[in-house]
Point group: C2
Chain length 345, copies 2
C-alpha cells in the first residue's frame, strides 16, 4: 500500500535544499520501509525563480541547476509567473512544505502561504514558528475542516521531537511547565564571551559562520526565544500566549565582568526560557539570562545545542537535548511531519 | 467513539498499584479526552491472592483491601484457584498488564505470562525488560499473528518515551548508536560514594530507601544495565543481542581513592552504557564505569535519574533525560502503551 506525497516546496534556502537532499538520500528507504513514494511538483524561491512540473521535477537536477545557474526557471514546465502565493494557488500537490523567510513580528508571509495551501486541500508543513505563534488555532481549525494537517515539528529545536512527542508518546500526560535553552545563537555567543570575547566580537564571529543574522537583535534581545516559548505554551499547554507577553530579557546586559565572575564560581550564563503554572496556580512565562552550575542539565548544553525539560503530571522531569543541529536536522523534522500527515489521512 | 479497555492485571506490587492509582486519577480525563473507558476484570498477585470479576472490580476497593487485609481473595467473584498463568488463561479481558517479579537471567515467568496473554488474543503490555531481551522477536510475531500488540515502554527508563519515540516521531530515522546512564541504582551508589561512603555503606543506604535489592549484584555488577542495552539494541537497532554479549563491567572495582581523585579533577564516575557501529563498521556494546566532566550531559544526571543520547542518521545527538522517576512514572509508561494498543487495533 503505497502513499504518494506530491510535494509543493515554497522556499528553497538552506532548509529547503537540505529537505530535498534528505528526500533523495532516503528515497528507497521511504518506499521500502514506509510505503511512501514522493514527487516534487514545484519549487518556488524568493530570488531564484520557480519551477512547476506536474509530472515531477528531477530533484537532483533542481539542486544542481539552482547551485550552478542561480535560477530554477529553466526547469519550469508551466510558464509560471508570479509570487509564492500565486505559486501555492496553482502548483498541483497534496503536501505544502513551507520554508520561506518570515517576519518574526507577524509570521508573514508564511502564515498566508499555509492558509492558501490548506484552503486548496493540501497538508501544510512548515519549519517557521511565526505561523504557529500568530495563527495556530485558526490554521489548525482550517486544516481540520479540510481533513488535513497543519504541522510544524521543525519550528522549535529543529528536528528534535517536541510537538510529535505530545501527539504520540505523551498522550495521556498533562504539561505543567518547562524550562530550557531554546535559542542556540545566544548560547554560542555566551560561550564565545566565556572565551574572552566581547558581545560585539562574538556577534561578528557568529555572523562569519552564518549563525547570527545581519541584525542580531531578534536573537540577542530574546525575541527568538520568546517566540519559541509562546509556540510551546500555545500548542502544548492550550494557553494562547504572544511573544510580547513573555517580555523577554536578552543577553545584551551581560558584561564580560559578569561572565568572568560566573566562570570563577564554576558557573555559566545561559539564556533560560521557562513557562508554566507555579505552586499558587499563577501562570508565568519568561526568557532571561541566568547562571547555572554543573549540576544543572543546562550546564552541558554547549555551542548551538538546545535543551528543554518538561514537567508533566506523570513525569516529574523529561528532558530533550538536541546536540549539534544542522539544516539536515531541520529537514528531518519536515520529513517526520510528512510521514505523520500521510499516515493519518 | 469510546474504546473499552478490559484490563487484566498480572502483578500488583509497587508498579501495579501505581498503575491502578493512575487509572483512578485519570478516569475522567481518559474518557473525555481520549475516548477510553476501562474496567479491571482481574488482579493476580504472587502472595496476596487474586480476584476476578467479569463485571469489573472496584479498583479503589481493591487497593484498600490489599493494603488493609493483605489479600484480594475477598473480592473474587470467580472462585479462582491457581497461579498467575492459570489466572491469565481464564480472566476475561482485552489487555494484559504484566508487572510480576522477573528472573533477569531468563525473563521468566513474565515471558510465559505474555505468551499466554497474546495467545488468548489480548494485547500484552509489560514493565519487565526480561521478556524483551529473551523473547522480543517471538512475542512480536505472536502478537502480529493475532492482530495484537506486545508493548514495553516502561522496560527502559520507566515511563520516559523511548520505544514509542521510534515507532512515532522518529519514523524515518535510523539509529546508529547510543550512550547513557541506564541503571539508576549504581548512579545513586556512586553519588553516595562521592559523599564519602564505601560501596557497602552506599548499598546499605540504598536498601534502606528501597532502591537496592537484598542481592544488589544485578545492579552493582552491571547486569541490569546490560539487559537494558540488549533491549535497546534488539528492538531499536534490529540486532538481536544478549546481556552476556555485553560483558558488563560493574562498579565493584571503583575504590574510594578513585572517587576522591575524580572529584579533585572536577569529574564524576558514572556507569556508562554504550552501543552502536563504530567508524569502521564494527558493532560494539558495553557497560563500564567511566569518568565524565561537567561538559558531558552525563555529569548532571544525579540521584536516580537516567539519560540516553541517541546518534541517528538525521539527528547527530538526541538526548532523553528522565529526572526523579517513581512508580507513577513507570505506571505512565504502561498507560501510554494501553492508549497506543487500543488506538492502533
Amino acid at each position: 500500500m503505497t502513499k504518494e506525497a506530491r510535494l509543493v516546496l515554497a522556499g528553497f534556502g538552506n532548509v529547503g535544499k537540505a529537505f530535498a537532499r534528505l528526500l533523495l538520500q532516503k528515497e528507497n528507504e521511504l518506499r521500502e520501509e514506509h510505503g511512501l513514494s514522493f514527487t516534487v511538483t514545484g519549487i518556488c524561491t524568493g530570488s531564484h525563480g520557480a519551477a512547476i512540473d506536474p509530472q515531477g521535477l528531477d530533484l537532483a537536477q533542481a539542486l544542481d541547476t539552482v547551485e550552478r545557474t542561480g535560477s530554477l526557471t529553466s526547469l519550469d514546465r508551466a510558464s509560471f509567473l508570479g509570487n509564492t502565493l500565486d505559486f501555492i494557488e496553482i502548483c498541483p500537490g497534496n503536501v505544502l512544505i513551507e520554508t520561506t523567510p518570515v517576519n518574526p513580528r507577524s509570521g508573514q508571509p508564511a502564515l498566508s502561504h499555509i492558509e492558501a495551501g490548506l484552503a486548496r486541500g493540501m497538508h501544510a508543513i512548515t519549519a517557521n514558528k511565526g505561523p504557529v505563534v500568530y495563527g495556530y488555532q485558526h490554521l489548525t481549525r482550517l486544516a481540520e475542516s479540510r481533513g488535513k494537517k497543519f504541522l510544524f515539528e521543525s519550528a522549535v529545536m529543529d528536528g528534535a521531537p517536541i510537538f510529535s512527542l505530545f501527539r504520540g508518546p505523551l498522550l495521556g500526560a498533562k504539561l505543567l511547565g518547562f524550562s530550557g535553552i531554546l535559542n542556540s545563537c545566544t548560547n554560542l555567543l555566551l560561550e564565545r564571551m566565556e572565551g574572552g570575547e566581547t558581545l560585539t566580537q562574538a556577534i561578528a564571529y557568529g555572523a562569519s559562520i552564518g549563525i547570527t543574522e545581519t541584525d542580531p537583535s531578534n536573537d540577542v534581545d530574546g525575541w527568538d526565544a520568546a517566540i519559541k516559548v509562546a509556540a510551546l505554551v500555545t500548542v502544548l499547554m492550550g494557553y494562547p500566549l504572544t511573544p510580547l507577553e513573555v517580555q523577554p530579557v536578552g543577553i545584551r546586559g551581560i558584561t564580560p565582568q559578569q561572565i568572568t565572575q560566573a566562570t570563577a564560581q564554576g558557573k555559566k550564563w545561559k539564556l533560560v526560557c521557562a513557562a508554566g503554572w507555579d505552586e499558587s496556580g499563577q501562570f508565568y512565562a519568561r526568557v532571561r539570562p541566568e547562571t547555572v552550575g554543573p549540576d544543572s542539565p543546562l550546564f552541558a548544553v554547549t555551542g548551538t545545542s538546545s535543551f528543554v525539560q518538561f514537567k508533566l503530571d506523570v513525569l516529574p522531569g523529561l528532558g530533550i537535548l538536541e546536540s549539534n543541529p544542522s539544516p539536515k536536522t531541520t529537514a528531518f523534522g519536515l520529513l517526520s511531519d510528512v510521514l505523520y500527515a500521510l499516515k493519518e489521512k
